[in-house]
Amino acid sequence: MPIVTLVQAINMALDEELRRDERVMILGEDVGQRGGVFLATEGLQQKYGPDRVMDTPLSEAAILGAAVGLAAHGMRPVAEIQFADYVFPGIDQLFSQAAKLRYRSGGQFTAPMVVRMPSGGGVKGGHHHSQSPEAHFAHTPGLKVVVVSTPYDAKGLLKSAIRDDDPVVFMEPKRLYRAVKEEVPSDDYLIPIGKAALRREGRDITLVSYGGPMVETLKAAEEMAVAGVEAEVIDLRTVMPWDKETVLNSVAKTGRLLVVSEAPRTASVASEVAATVSEELFDQLLAPPLRVTGFDTPYPLAQDKLYMPTVTRILNAAKRLLDY
């Protein structure tokens, strides 16, 4: 089994799906000869030609809107947005067209497309190469939203996304692109959209996270273990629809919930998970569900590391919960 990075796993998934299904194609800025600015599409244009791995003009509306039309006409487009921060000039194509096409046509037309985008901070990108806009997508009915954190998942989830009959926003934390390597089977496997992964079992506290901060969350859990506290760690992987069942089962056991996300706090996915858990497990909670999130500021360059949930910040919040 090849040992690969997250971005290589993405490349594998794309390669395999392009080979498997001739309706699959890629479009985006610099995805062709350049292979994408992070090399996620490296070598694919050489292999499948410029029609199936297509460089587009510099317009996110053109990319996303064309993907809608391609999908409605029968293709399976995988659109790349160069950075999640740049989805906004084209977001109406996602919100007004992709997300609502099935609904507005009463099921007559659909937009089975994937929108890949590197997201999140930690790479000294300032506020236009660091944002985590998943809440905008999760708040928009008609979109599914995946945020990966491991190479293995990245491949299996991207394949599921490509075969999904609905538009899927697929977010790739760029700081994890080359952070770890792991074994990724070179054959076909799928990871279902909507299923969380239990990354660590524990009975004292439930840590729910996804994407980039999975790293700090797992580190915090390890540090807690040293101190004799067993944290259960859940990686949501899909934030719309998120896996409520897995989260509730865990919190029912531990009585304590900490949600960790690097997106701004207000009206976030973390808020949603926290609000839902208090709603449904009120009597079983030993302490209030807490959130460790990014701050409600634009993403600052100079405080690149301070902005995101740190291990210390996670441990402090966990302590508050355990001492409650």
Binding site: A66, M75, S105
Partner: protein, 369 residues
């Protein structure tokens, strides 16, 4: 056929016109159309007008909430419809295109069903009136957001090119739509890809109340094609045959792999922007009555007269026949009843996730209580 061989000039100063206001054929070629074909144009224009009138009545009598009248656009819309291969080519229309979709063959009962937002609407009453769509006819369901259908039309056309389906995508919109960023993005990408798509502007010189002088400083809409390296055609959209021949010309050009075009069909909007609008606030009575004197249907009637194809009795019978057809369809649509309220939770995704199941269950319980 003759029409296949005619090349039209792009970027003309004066609008391309084949029939003048007096109904004279003024083109340097013969139209080559049969009497039946010529009468078909008339029928479709008349049907479009009668549909419009009927819809206006539906609003006035409170049977529907909204309508975007297309009177004045009939020649343009019928011209476009006749230029497509129906059921093969794709149409990406906008909300003022009910005359167009009717001519494309959408059953009137579906149009009325959509207008009433009831169970006769194939789209399950999800959108406001004037938002048709048809999967069997490849008519992409209208989206309210102006110009948001331009990039999708480009995408569909790229798919047609890649898969060599010999289809063409025709995308219509108003003059106001050309100011949106998505319009630019979609046309530009299509031009780079030489995708088989035709962009057709039904230019009535108003975006609700905003006159075209405040919309753009370009000399006309067709010239905007220069920004994309594609041809632009400035056409008299009150002339059904000019609309037809030019659109057909560029559709076949696109089908032949020669890429997209932009066509401007200059029309008038006889009514208010919509049933919610009051056009007397911004359009003078003089302007309006001057426009109404240039009725596209009347011009075409004069043409038929000159061709010896006009007959008052035939026209009257036609009118009665269409009126009856529409009335029957309306009756049928009205019978359909309200859509199932729980359909609110369908078609958000291919399958309902847990949160929509929960929300649906809640409403189901409320409805039972």
């Amino acid at each position: 056929m003759v029409k296949e061989r005619i090349a039209f000039p792009s970027f003309s100063q004066e609008p391309i016109r084949l029939i003048d206001p007096e109904g004279c054929w003024v083109a340097p070629f013969s139209h080559g159309l049969s009497a039946q074909e010529l009468r078909h144009f008339y029928r479709d224009m008349l049907a479009a007008r009668l549909l419009d009138e009927k819809l206006v009545v539906l609003v006035r009598t409170g049977r529907t909430s909204f309508i975007a009248p297309h009177a004045g656009h009939e020649a343009a819309q019928v011209g476009i419809a006749h230029a497509l291969r129906k059921g093969h080519d794709w149409l990406f229309p906008y909300y003022r295109d009910l005359g167009l979709v009717l001519a494309m063959g959408v059953p009137p009962v579906e149009i009325f069903g959509q207008t009433l937002g009831n169970a006769a609407d194939p789209a399950k009453g999800r959108q406001m009136p004037s938002h048709p769509g048809s999967r069997p006819l490849n008519i992409f369901t209208v989206c309210s957001a102006i110009a948001s259908h331009i990039p999708p039309a480009t995408g569909a056309a790229i798919s047609m090119k890649l898969r060599r389906t010999h289809q063409v995508a025709v995308c219509t919109f108003g003059d106001g739509a050309t100011s949106e960023g998505d319009w630019h993005a979609g046309v530009n990408f299509a031009a780079v890809q030489r995708a088989p798509v035709v962009f057709v502007c039904e230019n009535n010189r108003y975006a609700i109340s905003v006159n075209i002088s405040k919309q753009t400083a370009s000399e006309n809409i067709a010239v905007k094609a220069k920004a994309y390296g594609i041809p632009g055609y400035y056409v008299d959209g009150l002339d059904v045959l000019a609309s037809y021949f030019v659109v057909q010309y560029v559709v076949e050009r696109a089908r032949a792999g020669e890429g997209p075009s932009l066509v401007e069909l200059a029309v008038h909007r006889f009514g208010p922007h919509s049933s919610a609008d009051d056009d007397t606030r911004y359009k003078s009575r003089e302007e309006l009555s001057a426009e109404r004197q240039q009725d596209p249907i009347l011009r075409y009637q004069r043409f038929l007269e000159r061709e010896g194809l006009w007959d008052a009795q035939w026209a009257n019978e036609l009118r009665l026949e269409i009126a009856k057809e529409l009335e029957t369809a309306l009756q049928e649509a009205q019978k359909a009843g309200e859509p199932d309220p729980l359909q609110m939770f369908d078609d958000v995704y291919a399958a309902r996730p847990w949160h929509l199941e929960e929300q649906r269950r809640q409403v189901a319980e409320e409805l039972e209580a």
